[in-house]
């Protein structure tokens, strides 16, 4: 007898017999009936998995967490301590998988951690320079650059100084 097992909802199996449907015995529709299988508990009854069993597995029930505040706090402490204890093993697993990529991830993360301070310092220098420029423009303060400095910094500075001396 060929038996189809149709999962119609989580944990409930409905067995549909082809003989009962009349496809093998020639019976009419009145003989067709469904019977719903009972919900199987994982530790009772016949095993429905293994090499000779159904390849589709029922997902284990998700345990519900505690409802009260103390229970939640205990759960949080347990999860934090468990994560902290498992971190070295996880780090070893990831390092064994690819040391270079792990190192690259750490280096990029570390550089990204320093950048905000560098950006803030650059912003400070930029704001100071802008404020100094506004003060020079509004109050007609002397610029600190001298003519010799401008000539030394400019690529055509020596020629300009020679031309300036000749014209004078």
């Amino acid at each position: 007898m060929i038996t189809l097992q149709i999962r119609i909802c989580q944990g409930v199996r409905t067995r549909l017999s082809w003989a009962d449907m009349g496809m093998m015995g020639g019976g009419g529709p009145s003989m067709m009936h469904w019977w719903a299988g009972r919900r199987k508990k994982p530790d009772t009854g016949q095993a429905n998995s293994g090499l000779t069993g159904d390849p589709a597995l029922e997902q284990p029930p998700v345990p519900e967490g505690p409802k009260d505040l103390r229970g939640r706090w205990e759960n949080l402490k347990q999860s934090v301590s468990g994560t902290t204890a498992a971190l070295p093993r996880v780090l070893r697993l990831v390092w064994d998988a690819s040391p270079a990529t792990t190192l690259g991830l750490f280096v990029t993360t570390a550089i990204a951690g320093v950048i905000p301070a560098a950006a803030a310092y650059t912003a400070k220098l930029l704001i100071n320079a802008v404020v100094q420029g506004i003060a020079i423009h509004n109050f007609h303060q002397p610029d600190h650059e001298t003519f010799a400095q401008v000539c030394a910094c400019s690529p055509i500075g020596p020629f300009q100084s020679i031309q300036f001396s000749a014209s004078a």
Partner: protein, 106 residues
């Protein structure tokens, strides 16, 4: 001076975006490597077991549940830990910068 500082600021923002991209790519590569390593470890363990072991429903269920396991959890843990290090570095450098700037203003 101002133009040079503006260019430096632009370069820093570009570097931030570039580092984010590189970090994402590195994380994806690491996830693939870790997933392959975990699969390899599971296969090696499965090959070393006796056939009698698989007729036990509990052990078979255990191995079947290992197949679709989320193999990106280790990398997510490591990435979160590195993120904590990044936050700590940012905090320390910002504190040092603020101390230095406050000394300059005295």
């Amino acid at each position: 001076m101002i133009v040079a500082l503006a260019i430096v600021q632009l370069a820093l923002f570009a570097l931030t975006a570039l580092l984010g991209t590189i970090r994402n790519i590195t994380q994806q590569l690491l996830q693939n490597s870790v997933a392959m390593r975990i699969q390899l470890m599971v296969m090696e363990k499965a090959a070393s077991l006796d056939l009698q072991f698989y007729e036990d429903p509990a052990s078979y269920d255990f191995f079947a549940a290992l197949r679709p396991i989320q193999s990106n959890r280790p990398v997510m843990m490591i990435s979160t830990a590195f993120g904590l290090v990044q936050t700590l570095l940012t905090f320390l450098t910002m504190i040092a910068l603020l101390v230095a700037v406050s000394r300059c203003w005295r």
